[in-house]
């Protein structure tokens, strides 16, 4: 099928390094010794743990419940025992800990009851709920919960649904192999997305360096008789970026300020997401495994189907790394990062592990001053000016970096790749972005503090005013009463019978108070210690003796008076009194 393709500006062509790992079929990774499931594996709320240490879990049993709409559940990848719910390192550039559920597999790999859903019969809300409960998130890298992207923006017709099979980053071949081997289920998953979003057309974009994947997808589309077009897009990093792929396939340019591409009538999903969504809908299988590439400085690079939570070190050992391997890179060489230790688990968004060594990734020569050649600006796929943003980030002039639209930067690494002075531009941009976010948080916190402080002051003023007003009112009432009494006294001289009426009233009151006190006293005396019934005669005797001694020593009366004494200071402590 022929269609006009568009181009995005910039981009680079790094050596693809995909041939090492794409000639072997996907292999099933063996069961690891233990599984560490970080609860936070998607954008949005952190799922709440619903299991505790010692619980037995089945394969596919939910262990973390979605927290809010933009959040997705996590599940036990196999049957076994929960060892602990504790802080462990998760794959994140910070190397910091987050809450994880650690499971020791029992080897039985026993499934929980699975419930498929008929997405044509069910209401869209139920399908979204099902996908959320199955923990389906975008597998392209960001990990946005899939159900959150399946609602078209109101008032904007959904023009194109784009399925991203570009896989532009070097070394990674997991989507390639997925499309070659499981094209049928990928296409069925795309059909589900199509049914939910109702787009005018569906475009599947695959880079033209994957002819087998393109052929397999075309065959699957034809076999299922779907009107999807499989488009070969030119190989150019980062053609797999959502905005770049939209640009290439539709010519639409997504403004940086736009939060969701659905506002422009376009939605993009990764092929892996379509596959796992289909598994969830047709088989009720939650997202507990994924395909990932193990490559780099290893003997046997290939793709594995891996349980989420598998320690990366164990996985790398399968591919027999060379002895000079000195680290594991998660993700590709352009956007990936070195993980802090080999115990870090695979998460839903892990698409590739690269054994790192100095031959494949020679250490960078020292950074040199910027010579203002503009190579970075020509390479930037977002038409930004990285050299300007670099100067201002370096000088910590963050306001200016925002004027140069630093938040449009997708951190693809093209600028760092082409920089002849080997400046780590992306690191500067990441630094600037996280500083700006931190300041934003601080600003919000200080605004809130200010508002609360001002409200407290206002409240105190108001309370003071209220009190003053009350006092004034009471004083006025007192004065009025006195005046009335004086008037009454003046009138009394004539009629002395009136004076007798208030006195009986007072007496009645006093009598009532005395009666109440007597009642309370009687009640106090009626209370008996609870364990004094059914005593043995000798116990009763001992108790009587003690009682007699206490009465003799006036202890009982003493106790009553000391109770009264303790009551007084507590009353003083209460500042309201």
């Amino acid at each position: 099928m022929l269609m006009d393709l568009f181009k995005f500006k910039g981009g680079v062509k790094p050596p693809s390094n995909k041939l090492q790992s794409n000639h072997l079929p996907i292999a099933q990774a063996p069961m690891p010794s233990r599984l560490v499931m970080p609860l936070h594996q998607s954008i949005g709320g952190t799922p709440r743990p619903i299991v505790a240490a010692g619980d037995h879990v089945l394969k596919g049993q939910m262990i973390g419940e979605a927290d809010g709409w933009i959040s997705a559940a996590v599940h036990a990848p196999t049957s076994g025992t929960v060892v602990e719910v504790a802080m462990h390192v998760r794959p994140h550039p910070s190397g910091l800990d987050s809450l994880c559920v650690v499971i020791e597999p029992d080897g039985k790999d026993e499934w929980i009851a699975r419930t498929p859903i008929d997405h044509n019969a069910a209401a869209p809300a139920d399908v979204f709920h099902h996908l959320q409960q199955c923990g389906i998130v975008g597998l392209g890298g960001a990990g946005f919960p899939a159900h959150g992207k399946l609602t078209p923006t109101k008032g904007v017709p959904m023009d194109e649904l784009i399925i991203n099979g570009a896989e532009c980053e070097p070394f990674i071949t997991c989507d390639d192999l997925l499309m070659r081997e499981r094209a049928d289920e990928v296409v069925r998953g795309i059909a589900v997305f199509r049914d939910l979003l109702q787009p005018k057309k569906v475009l599947i974009g695959i880079e033209d360096n994957k002819p087998e994947a393109i052929a397999a997808m075309r065959a699957a589309v034809d076999a299922l008789n779907e009107p999807f077009s499989v488009v070969a897009v030119p190989t150019l990093y980062p053609a797999g970026g959502a905005k770049q792929l939209i640009r290439v396939l539709t010519g639409k340019e997504v403004p940086g300020s736009m939060r969701s591409t659905a506002d422009m009538g376009v939605q993009v999903f990764n092929v892996g997401t379509a596959y796992s969504a289909w598994r969830a809908i047709a088989h009720g299988e939650p997202l507990i495994s994924r395909i990932l590439t193990v490559t780099g400085n290893v003997h046997a690079p290939r793709n594995y189907e891996v349980l989420i939570g598998t320690p990366m070190g164990e996985l790398l050992a399968l591919a027999q790394p060379h002895p000079d391997t000195d680290g594991i890179l998660m993700g590709g060489p352009m956007m990936g990062f070195l993980i802090p230790n080999p115990q870090v688990p695979v998460v839903k968004t892990t698409n590739c592990l690269i054994a790192h060594d100095d031959r494949l990734f020679p250490p960078k020569a020292p950074e040199m001053p910027c010579i203002r050649c503009g190579a970075c600006a020509r390479a930037c796929p977002h038409e930004l000016q990285p050299f300007e943003m670099y100067w201002f980030s370096r000088a910590k002039n963050f306001g200016k970096t925002q004027e140069y639209n630093i938040f449009d930067c997708i951190e693809c690494g093209c600028c760092s790749y082409v920089c002849p002075s080997r400046i780590p531009l992306v690191q500067y941009f990441r630094f600037a972005k996280s500083e700006i976010w931190a300041r934003e948080r601080e600003k919000n916190a200080s605004d809130q503090a200010k508002a609360r402080f001002e409200f407290k002051q206002l409240r105190e003023e108001r309370e003071k005013a209220d009190k003053a007003e009350k006092l004034a009112k009471a004083a006025a009432a007192q004065a009025a009463k006195k005046a009335a009494e004086a008037a009454a006294a003046a009138a009394e001289s004539g009629a002395d019978a009136a004076v007798a009426t208030p006195a009986p009233e007072m007496d009645a009151k006093r009598a009532a108070i005395e009666a109440a006190m007597a009642r309370a006293k009687a009640q106090r005396e009626a209370v008996q210690p609870k364990n004094t019934e059914h005593l043995a005669p000798d116990q009763q005797k001992a108790a009587d003796e003690i009682e007699a001694r206490r009465v003799a020593a006036h202890l009982i009366e003493d106790r009553v008076s000391s109770e009264e004494a303790t009551a007084a200071p507590t009353a003083q402590l209460d500042p309201k009194s």
Binding site: H92, Q427, F431, A445, K456, P575, K576
Partner: protein, 192 residues
Amino acid sequence: MDILLAIAIMALGAVVLGALLGFASIKFKVEGDPLVEKVEAILPQTQCGQCGFPGCKPYAEAIVNGEEINKCPPGGSEGVQRLADLLGREVKPLDAEEKPKQIAIIDENTCIGCTLCIQSCPVDAIVGAAKQMHTIIAQQCTGCELCLPPCPVECIHMAVIPETIDNWKWKYPVVAMQVVAADKAAAIKEAA
């Protein structure tokens, strides 16, 4: 005659412009001092009084009236820098030691429920009632330490906010210094 006309025109112009200026000064009158607001926006709003003023706004007013800009420990040296940039004054070292951001934590087993800390908290970040356990709303606590002195049982302590994945920041890229052999260094020097 011409000269009279010229004077009349100038006078008329002066009257019109004067009226315009007078109108503008009433119509576009600025309430309060805008500079105070700008200074206050830089101050961290902890309301801690460590500067010697009862709150951030009084200190902002004092700064505009000539007070030193280095008296706000929670703002840190970065705050001093920003104030100096805004006001065109010289940057001075902070008049106190700089501390990492902290929040107060109540030991809930020791708390006797006296409500003294609740009254001292400038941002109402402590909940509790008389003879009931009190606790601090961590998100609202500014770390001002004003609740520490009133506590009769010393059950409040300050804790540094730990680094988590949510508040972690990318570090400033540091260029690694490399050791260069002496002869190589000489060669570089010669070439330069």
